[in-house]
Amino acid sequence: MSTADKTKKFAMAYIVDRCVDCKACMVACKAEWQVPENDFRTHIDTGIAPAVTERLSMHFLPHQCNHCDHAPCVTVCPTKASHKREDGVVDIDNRKCVGCRYCIPSCPYNARFFNNELGVADKCTFCLPRIYDGLMPACVTTCPGRARVFGDVNDPESEISKALKNAADNRYRVWTLRKDLGTEPNIYYIQK
């Protein structure tokens, strides 16, 4: 078990222009975590706008657990199985999870599912303990488009800090999902 490093705050960014919806991330994650056959911890949504604009356009939006600073799943969990770690990761303690499933509808990002094989709630864990072994999360490692950037936002030298700085310097569009809900997500979207 990796103990949380208080000095760190993990986050992920998707450079959406680079995603091609190849779904390699979804399968890499499934392999890494032996996610049941028909479930996934991360998804790619396709948004197509043929009617709205003259020019056809299609966008791909990867999504998964947002590791929110004010995570509704943590609030509703009666056993504290869902908890926010000091390194920013929202984790589920399988020993404490009683399978009540309150967390699943509470997540505004639809990030959670019930793992029938384990009998617990499941979701993205930012690949703990891979990241403490010095590896990148499985989805980041495999992404052929290099659309996914991960790291410690407290470290200015981390790839994610650099990506966010670069986006700010170049005035790229940077956003998080459902900011209005005040969940303070830690997944950023970057678009040129």
Binding site: M1, S2, I15, D17, R18, V20, D21, C22, K23, A24, M26, V27, A28, K30, A31, E32, W33, Q34, P36, E37, N38, D39, F40, I48, P50, A51, R55, L56, S57, M58, H59, F60, V89, D91, I92, D93, N94, R95, N116, E117, L118, G119, V120, D122, T125, L128, P129, A138, T141, T142, C143, P144, G145, R146, A147
Partner: protein, 733 residues
Amino acid sequence: MTKCRISRRRFIQGTASVGAALASMSSFRLLTGSSSAVAEPQQGVTYAQNWCEMCFWKCGLTAKVVNGKVRKLEGQPDCPSNFGKLCAKGNAGVFQLYDPDRLKTPLIRDGERGSGKFRKATWEEAITYVAQKTNELKEKYGPETFSLFCHGSGQDPFIQMMEIMGSPNICVPSYSQCTGSRDIGWALSFGKPVGGKEPVDSQNSKCIMLLGRNIAEALHVGEMQDFVEGVAKGAHVIYVDPRFTKTAAKANQYMMIKPGTDSALLLGMINYIIEKEIYSKDFVENYTYGFDQFKEHVAGYTVEWASEITEIPQEEIIKAAEKLCKAAPRCYVHPGRRLTRYGNDTQFTRIVACLNMLLGNWEVRGGLYRTIGFKYDAPAMIEYDKSHAERADGSGSEEFPLGPKNLGFSNGTIKAIAEQSSPLKGMFIYGCNPLHHHGNTDTVRKAIENTELIVTCEIYMTDTAWYSDVILPESTYLERTEPVITTGRRAGFVQYREKAVDPVFETLGSWDMVNRLLEAMGYENRFMDISEYNRLAFESLGVDEEYMKKNGVFIGNESSPYPVEDYEEEPSFRTPSGKAEFYSNLAEHFSYPPMPSYEENPVPAEGEFRLLFGRISFHTHARTQNNAWLLALHKSEVPLWIHTERAKALGIKDGMQVRLVKEGFKSNPCTARVVDYIHPQAVFLPYGFGHESKGLTRIVGKGARTSDFTSDLTDPISGAAGFHNGFVKIEIA
């Protein structure tokens, strides 16, 4: 779900080796605690180097093995095919390895062909059976009675076995079904074929034009990485396709073309570029042949004319032409892949090549780079005399002088078997599936009927295996140690494959299997031991095995892929004139039109659709559809794309079950995907579904098999297939 539970349990037993009591779900949870701590006992972890065999791009990968089970595959960071990345298919290799649907023992048919009745056999039995039958056939019909269809890393022993048996009828279907016309067209123009790893320098390109080359979905990691890099750096992407694909999503300019009219579009652009004199004059003057004739030849192909035929507005055509010329030479028009469309594809490639000539993008950054191979003295795995008999399909004959004798025409060979134009009675199949890859399943069925012995080497019970007499189950790539291979992209490199685990079932690698077959057939020739071969190869390659075991890939031969730019080398071409040829001397020599013209393709009748098919990013050919991890990505649905207006007229709503119909024959149900972004004249179906083999338990009977509906035309120059003149009706299931 239950199936997965079994594998999960196996995994638990593996990790919780302290006691059987821990092998239950609840104790697993107790043992592991937090989900983040699915702790793997590190003592049992090993790594093995390999290259991916989920498609044919051969991405370098490292398999992580935990307590004797492959847990995870990751790309080799340095491999020039994929630089550390794997696609969805590549990642799903783990599922394939442990898939209970795999062929587990040799099988011998024990009922009518196609009844699916087989009896399990030992290897000894199966080998003896095949050897005896083949010797009988050889006795009766002569050595040329055998044909082989093969594709994949294990194909070589089968090819060599055929040579030893004395038959020239060896087919590598990727020629006929995919790249043949393109490579011949390119060779006629530039003096060399494109090659399997298309040397388009997307990462440095300022303008990229793709005609149905759907890089994001017919996905090869390395090519896709370069493309995304180019896009990120601001390349202007022009995408032409009757369908708005995921590659179109990355384009600055998308042109919905009327299917089958790509030649007209390019000729219109060429005409404009020449008229406006915006081509690369220096390149055209110094390094090309036949420009003046070509100029005259294309004079009638005006933008106006092209616009009428393609249904693309004139200003769009002009814009594309100008964007390319402005970016030249840092731009390219993609030579295409799976260029088996309308049966006149060699001439289409010639048009693509001529447009590239006008851009002067030869062996410079952002254009067409030079593939750097890895040349070395490969040891001989086996000694044999090559068969010099005539091929039954006519490849390399007077009719098709440019058809390569070593690759053959798989469609031509199937036809020869079906028609028994020569007594072809024994068919070997390795990693191929003629019932899917041929243009017309009726011909394949006839060929099957006329064959006395069909031997299939496979990892799954494919449709073709289902109709075989003997099935030899092959070990997957993760269970095989094989001879090293060399590959070329911007550098030449060596790839190493070492089995990650022992075979999960009673399977063999093809080298081993064929060695036993040769022995049983009574031939003297034997393959060298693979480790001995590798030792000799490493000596000649200048690398040691330790290095390969650790890194999996060795990059040698690093010269510049942009010699024209970097060494100021004069562009050179292995054509009769020594120049890039607008006017092909070789074509003329063989009495083909030396310059490409527009040829009209047949159009669907009222109420019919042209059937287009292609790949989706998470399946390869007809071989991965049964993989549960990949199936989950599309919820096992097989979509049929149809235009909104046309669907409406037929009463078809999005999500409805529909069938393809041709001459009374109906497909299995597909799910209608009613969209505005496909040309109304066409429907699109992803390739590789509609399996009839009950051995593919998850996908049998789902979706349509394209080969039941496509055309099976033959390109007059290359001899390769043409699939897209198949016309279908659609009805509600």
